[in-house]
């Protein structure tokens, strides 16, 4: 039985590759976690050769390359059983991931400033832009959590939508310790996801990065 060889190419950041890495960890599946230095990418030394869309992350599956972080997450989630248990559930999980994608641009300038690509005043940006967008996004998430019997967003088991939400919460709690103070369901969800043994082990072992 030949095992599929997975190689994940990204920068040495969590950012758009972290959910993919967490899916490998949850599934107990080995993968090559290739982290590329910014200089290598930006100075046109592209170690992977051609990429589908001139961007990272890229997942190489036995030589076939897949791009786009949510597509990669969905592909791995479906391979490993973390995408939803019926076609309907899978669609709902996908829609939550899309909603996160819609939410993220509101907070992206904060991250870009941290990484040195933008110049926002972090404190006022947090108050004026991040928190209102967060409130709207968390409001939607809480509706799913309140209806859930399992404590996960959709169905009875963890999905990649749970990982997206919990990772976002983790990251922003570092920047704003009170980030979920007014959102107990979100705090509870985060704790529940992070308590999954394979995942908590990965979080302890993974490289420390600013984002």
């Amino acid at each position: 039985l030949r095992m599929t060889k997975y190689k994940l190419y990204y920068f040495n950041l969590r950012a758009r590759a972290e959910v993919a890495r967490q899916l490998f960890a949850l599934a107990g599946e080995p993968f090559e976690d290739i982290r590329i230095e910014f200089d290598d990418w930006f100075t046109n030394i592209k170690p992977l050769g051609e990429t589908p869309f001139d961007a990272l992350p890229v997942l190489d599956v036995d030589g076939t390359k897949i791009a786009q972080s949510v597509t990669i997450a969905r592909f791995l989630a479906r391979q490993f059983g973390f995408a939803g248990k019926s076609f309907y559930e899978q669609a709902v999980v996908d829609s939550i991931a899309d909603q996160y994608t819609d939410f993220f641009p509101h907070v992206r300038p904060y991250i870009r400033t941290l990484l040195g690509f933008d110049n926002q005043d972090l404190d006022s940006f947090l108050i004026e832009k991040v928190r209102p967008a967060r409130d709207e996004f968390f409001g939607h998430m809480v509706k799913f959590l309140q209806r859930s019997e399992s404590g996960f967003l959709v169905g009875q088991t963890v999905t990649y939508a749970d990982l997206l939400l919990a990772e976002h919460v983790s990251t922003f709690k570092q920047f704003d310790p009170h980030y979920v103070r007014d959102w107990p369901e979100i705090q509870e969800h985060w704790a529940k996801v992070r308590a999954i043994p394979n995942l908590s082990r990965w979080v302890l072992d993974r490289p420390e990065t600013v984002y």
Binding site: F87, Y88, A91
Partner: protein, 202 residues
């Protein structure tokens, strides 16, 4: 028989690709078009306060890409393997990136925002059009994104056609993409749908 109900405004917008997938598949559905005045009342009853919304035997699915992917699977209009499905997904993600990157220009061009249309066209639209059309074209190596037509082709062709209707020279320099749009829209059920669909500003 599964009952499908699609709710959107009386526009093409983010529902049009979905309507075309139903048309291509020859599957009946309720095509509900609401007036703006009714939206505030309906909004809290949607998963994310947004449209389009698909209800499948009363069960809601929001987000147009999630809806399209679900219907593609239901109607056998998708990849034949997980890797093929992923290829479709990533092209669709790329279309979404392109749409986001030209948003500043489109908001002004469609009259939703004030701005300098000419400057935005040169500085926002053209560079992004060039970058993204080249990337998308690179991923259509045959007749379709895969070797057979899928939900992602219907969506991509619709997205390109919607742009062409506002910016007629948007695909200049990309004859393969122009041919691709014609190829998809030449399918009899789509051709018939396009000939009879309601008028809408976008």
């Amino acid at each position: 028989m599964v009952h499908y109900k699609l709710t959107y405004f009386d526009l093409r917008g983010r529902a049009e690709s979905i309507r075309q997938v139903f048309a291509y598949a020859g599957v009946a559905y309720e095509d509900v078009r609401i007036q703006r005045a009714h939206w505030p009342e309906l909004k809290p009853h949607t998963p994310f306060g947004q449209l389009p919304l698909l209800e499948v035997d009363g069960q809601p699915i929001a987000q147009s890409a999630a809806i399209l992917r679900f219907l593609g699977k239901q109607f056998d209009l998708t990849g034949k393997t997980p890797l093929e499905e992923a290829k479709l997904d990533m092209v669709v993600d790329q279309i979404a990136d392109f749409t986001a990157d030209i948003k500043a220009y489109m908001m002004v061009a469609l009259g939703f925002a004030e701005g300098d249309k000419e400057t935005l066209f040169k500085e926002v639209f053209i560079p992004n059009r060039d970058k993204h059309m080249a990337l998308i074209a690179k991923n259509i190596t045959g007749e379709y994104i895969l070797s057979h037509i899928t939900w992602a082709d219907i969506h991509l062709a619709n997205s390109l056609e919607a742009l062409l209707s506002k910016i007629p020279d948007v695909l200049d320099g990309h004859p393969a993409l122009k041919a691709y749009v014609h190829r998809v829209h030449a399918h009899p059920r789509l051709k018939a749908y396009l000939a009879t669909r309601p008028d809408a500003p976008f």
